[in-house]
Subunit: 395 residues, 2 copies
């Protein structure tokens, strides 16, 4: 039997408690021994909760209990959660977390700490909710030189963009509906401005290319400026507007990580990822291309990923699983504005003017022009055209 604890009894933490309890039998079979939930840490009281007996307000109960081997961190943020996780790793306890902010900003440091204390630090739930990505990238695809990881990484913004296309809704209306459905927060800035996707790209980039990318090294553009004209221009070319987080190797061997709204053609599997779902494309020199699709958020899907990590930790209690990456290498990063990509330019200029400035193009609806040849964003911004929008096309 292995005893475990949960930090934080919010949405994800209560999902982890529920999965550990409801699926106890199958977990014992998969893990090879019973996984018993001993503590749940929270500052609040939960009278009448079936987990009342496990509740504690004292972190030291968990930290100092030698029976607790694996801890799920579901507090969120990078202040108190970070302090607790550092103490747990240093005390020789294995940690699984859903906390993308903490991993994106302190992943390298925490992996080093885990290594120094011969324990596991896992974070599958931090990217793509329940979708398996961490182990596929670290292990299944280990035989590949990864060339690109690109995904629809934020369900809220994907829901808003799907509503704008399907119902012709304006951005503000679609956002209000997402809030009414409980998909978007009261303060939706982290989703809408792309910060949530940015953190996930940082983690995927580190897994794919072996060194940390801090959020400020990942230029990020959200979807607040997306209009019905963008959606119409994409549709007239058989494409959809999607907020993509991307990290890729450039022709010069540098890593380019960024978040921006893209036009995605129907030939891509990402075109078919709608509503609150996430999808991630991984490209490598042996696999070619694979795509992973599933719920990017939600109580039980996220808990599914946390519990999968806990099982892997149980399997590797004494011999930790190899998982680490180097610290940031800013000189190995490329500027996405200098990356040649296919682009749609929206401008009040005529086709002739666009072609004079940027070469052959095809006119779309909504003042859009699909450039025939890959171009850099810098060249487009410096073209002198009166720009309404500049959208890369995913290929």
């Amino acid at each position: 039997m292995v005893q475990v604890a949960i930090l934080g009894f919010g949405t994800v933490g209560s999902g982890v408690a529920e999965v550990l309890t409801q699926n106890r039998a199958v977990l014992a079979e998969k893990a090879g021994e019973e996984i018993r939930l001993k503590y749940i840490l929270d500052t609040r009281e939960f009278p009448g909760s079936p987990f009342e007996a496990q509740l504690t307000h004292n972190f030291e109960d968990i930290l100092n209990d030698p029976e607790v081997k694996v801890v799920a961190e579901c507090i969120g943020g990078a202040t108190i959660a970070l302090e607790f996780v550092k103490k747990l790793l240093a005390a020789g306890k294995h940690v699984a977390t859903s906390n993308k902010e903490m991993v994106a900003t302190h992943g390298h440091e925490l992996l080093e700490l885990a290594k120094a204390h011969n324990v596991n630090f896992f974070f599958e739930a931090s990217v793509g909710g329940g979708i398996p990505l961490l182990r596929p990238l670290a292990c299944d695809l280990a035989g590949n030189q990864i060339t690109e990881v690109t995904g629809i990484l934020n369900g809220t913004t994907n829901y808003i963009l799907s509503e704008m296309l399907d119902k012709g809704a304006a951005f503000d209306t679609a956002l209000q509906e997402a809030q009414a459905m409980g998909y978007a927060e009261r303060n939706p800035a982290a989703d809408v401005e792309g910060l949530d996707a940015c953190r996930k790209v940082c983690i995927l980039s580190a897994l794919a290319f072996g060194f940390h990318v801090y959020p400020d090294l990942c230029p990020t553009q959200g979807i607040a400026a997306i209009t019905g004209d963008d959606v119409a221009a994409a549709a007239s070319a058989g494409m959809k507007v999607k907020l993509l987080g991307r990290t890729l190797k450039t022709a010069e061997g540098k890593v380019c990580a960024f978040v921006a709204p893209h036009f995605v053609p129907a030939s891509s599997q990402l075109y078919h990822v709608d509503g609150v779902f996430n999808g991630v494309v991984i490209r490598g020199n042996a696999i070619g291309e694979a795509m992973f699709y599933g719920p990017g958020a939600g109580k039980l899907p996220t808990a599914s990923a946390v519990v999968g990590d806990m099982v892997d930790a149980v399997w590797h209690l004494s011999q930790r699983r190899r998982l680490d990456w180097a610290d940031a290498q800013p000189d190995q990063m490329a500027d996405p504005w200098e990356l040649p990509l296919p682009y749609v330019v929206r401008t009040t200029a005529s086709l002739a003017e666009v072609e004079a400035a940027l070469g052959q193009a095809k006119a779309l609806d909504g003042n859009g022009y699909l450039l025939a040849a890959p171009t850099t964003r810098r060249a487009i911004e410096q073209s002198g055209l009166a720009l309404l929008a500049v959208r890369p096309v995913f290929q």
Copy 2:
């Protein structure tokens, strides 16, 4: 440094050699030590091959070399490959294989043998080519009670069905084109009759539900009887014909594994899996639904999966990874003919006759009728209608 060997220098074996060589640096980084290819076993000579120095005709060279820790079995079939793999496991060597026939017919036995000798027996490449499935099912989704695994598991038949839809080609014409493109074998029976998909369902079922399903416990129907009328009936309902391999838990808690052509609606991610690609949907009580997409065959994608397994074996040289399942449990299997499913029935009977026999239905093109309520295949076959085709609908 870890020394490894490859059995069989055919398509997959030469792909593994290529990946091990070309991606040596990234592999050393991921595995934590250099992986060096010491032997390739084949009966043939390969004069001028860059791997000539590694070639041996003598299996004993590999079996008796204590330096060789991990072996990739790429011979195929369940005769000589089976004999070699048993000897290797018994000698304490870790084995990774792409051999679906061997795993589907002897997986339980080989996993037991691996366990007894404290080594790993991995077979990611046996299902879905390069698509990660084995570890997601065994580990990432370990917190789930899996309810269903359904996939497009054979690229050749999916290519044929895509051609029939896109170009209005007859089955024979599409098959000939698949052969000309090198996707289908001269003798395409294993693909066309569904045997290849059947073997893969057996493996997925064992991973999902914990006991072996031998191919004769998985009723299998191929695509040779699919006509243009089937394709038209599906299209008129916004669906596509896809050969699906499925294993699922019935309402009674039994496991039902089968292979059959299905009508797949556009709302399913599998609808968008076209050509030679594979896609696998996994459903569980925490994750909801996830889908994995990628190349289901091919030299380098398959090699990618074999090499991923070899890296995992290197990580677990002394402490094997937990992976096993029980032997067959025929009394726990349900007959797919008794499984209530949505169905399309193709018959020369009128709508009134169909509704009199099977309840409310909707007329489609190609003499097709979409039944409103889930029905068993047995009930349809016993309805007395003159049946042209009976196709379950994937939901």
